[in-house]
Amino acid sequence: MILQYFTINTCAELICLIAALISLEKNRLWTSWFVIFFLFITVAAEMAAIPIKINYLKDTKHNLPNIWLYNLLLVFQVAFYNVIFSVLLDKKIYTVLILLIFFPLLSVFYIYEISQHGLFEYNELTNSIFSVEIVLCSLIFYYNLFQSDANIKLGIYPEFWFVAGVLFFFFGSTVLNLFYDSIKRILPHNKHFVGYIYNVLNILLYGFWSYSFICRKWLWRISAA
């Protein structure tokens, strides 16, 4: 019974959370605690979504009975990534791109979508804009790294691997976001392959993050010393 909670996604997230807890245990940085908090929320939401889905499987009114949870999780995701990129990006770029453009845009679209179809429908537009924002931020981060004169060991640079996971996940899920309408229309009850793709993307995301935490705790420090 308890095994039903351990899907590929939740296992990847749990491993990442454990890696974060072990690696960032004595780290006093607020970002470390922020990442742990976000991972905890994500794992909790994913695990909560499983019984909801099972219990409401016969719900014929709503196609996706647990989507409201993901719509709520989206608020945390937007907040989390926007805060994280405030550390990773140049202040000027961050202010213009995130604070002045994307954050107001996401807020407007989120409220608009919820007001249009309620919590039980996927916030497709907000998710797509969010993906564009994160991909853009990741590419800007890499561009800055590209331009930097600093002698950085990329193989053990935590920020590099953290953003790599983010870029893989959001760039990879672009197709799913773009085809979301078509998939929903053509295959309303046969979307297993979507789940498989998300499994792969989640493994990539949390795999890279776990490695990033390991770099932060051990490799980067040894190298810096």
Binding site: F146, S173, T174, V175, F179, I183, L187, V194, I197
Partner: protein, 259 residues
């Protein structure tokens, strides 16, 4: 159904290849950047070591010149002064007066020589006096031997734009070219021009000496060697051109980006 799922899967794979490519590219670029940084550091180290070497050579050359001068010139003058003073017979006042006058003359000459040596030592302190002045001291010292007629001209702009490292190397090149002239050229006239224009410094030293066949390998006896002059100029991003013919003197032109 299979169509749309296949399309989504293939598109997703393509969308995953793009970030993978970006990441690999950044990795490769970073490796190149690191190599470039290391090469730059290596070049800086080589430059620093060449500068130190040049500094030591300049000092050594100056000390050798001073040593030789003290021994051959001032030493002789002072010995002669001592002999003259010793030979004074106080009873013969007229002769004594003559000898005292000779001694005064010898002492004045010694003082003059000492002053020139002092200037030469100042020339060693390039940072303090500047390249134009340092070369002027070198020219004064060369002229005092009476063997050479030297025309030295320097642009006014150089003093305003200075680069101590490059000054040191240019000074060392000048010193060595003068050395070669003294030792091998058998010249009587020397022209030294130091010009600054459009971000470049040009040093031209020409003599009317015996010269050599520039097409062939220059004689090994040419001091630190013409190759070394080229190498030194190259270290500071410049180049040295050497034109010479047997019996027609030698002209060396060193062009350096400046400051």
């Amino acid at each position: 159904m299979a169509d749309i799922s296949g399309l989504v899967i293939v598109s997703t794979i393509i969308f995953l290849i793009a970030p993978a490519f970006i990441i690999v590219y950044i990795f490769v670029y970073n490796q190149r950047k690191k190599r470039h940084i290391l090469e730059k550091q290596q070049m800086q180290l080589t430059f620093a070591s060449e500068l130190t070497k040049t500094q030591l050579e300049v000092q050594e050359q100056t000390m050798q010149t001073i040593g030789a001068d003290l021994h051959d010139n001032i030493g002789q003058l002072l010995s002669l002064t001592s002999l003259t003073l010793n030979s004074i017979e106080l009873d013969n006042k007229a002769k004594a007066r003559q000898k005292i006058d000779d001694s005064i003359d010898l002492t004045l000459r010694s003082i003059k020589e000492m002053r020139l040596l002092g200037h030469l030592l100042q020339g060693d302190q390039l940072v303090a006096v500047g390249l134009v002045e340092a070369i002027r001291q070198l020219v004064s010292w060369m002229e005092r031997s009476g063997r050479f007629e030297i025309i030295y001209t320097a642009g006014d702009e150089i003093a305003a734009n200075r680069n101590a490292d490059k000054d040191l190397i240019i000074f060392r090149i000048t010193q060595e070219v003068f050395n070669n002239i003294i030792k091998h050229a058998a010249a009587t006239e020397i022209t030294v021009d130091l010009d600054y224009a459009e971000g470049a410094l040009e040093l031209r030293i020409a003599d009317n000496g015996v010269g050599f066949a520039a097409d062939e390998a220059p004689p090994a006896r040419h001091g630190m060697g013409l190759q070394n002059i080229r190498k030194r100029a190259g270290i500071i991003g410049g180049e040295a051109a050497i034109a010479s013919n047997v019996g027609q003197g030698t002209q060396i032109i060193v062009s350096i980006p400046y400051p």
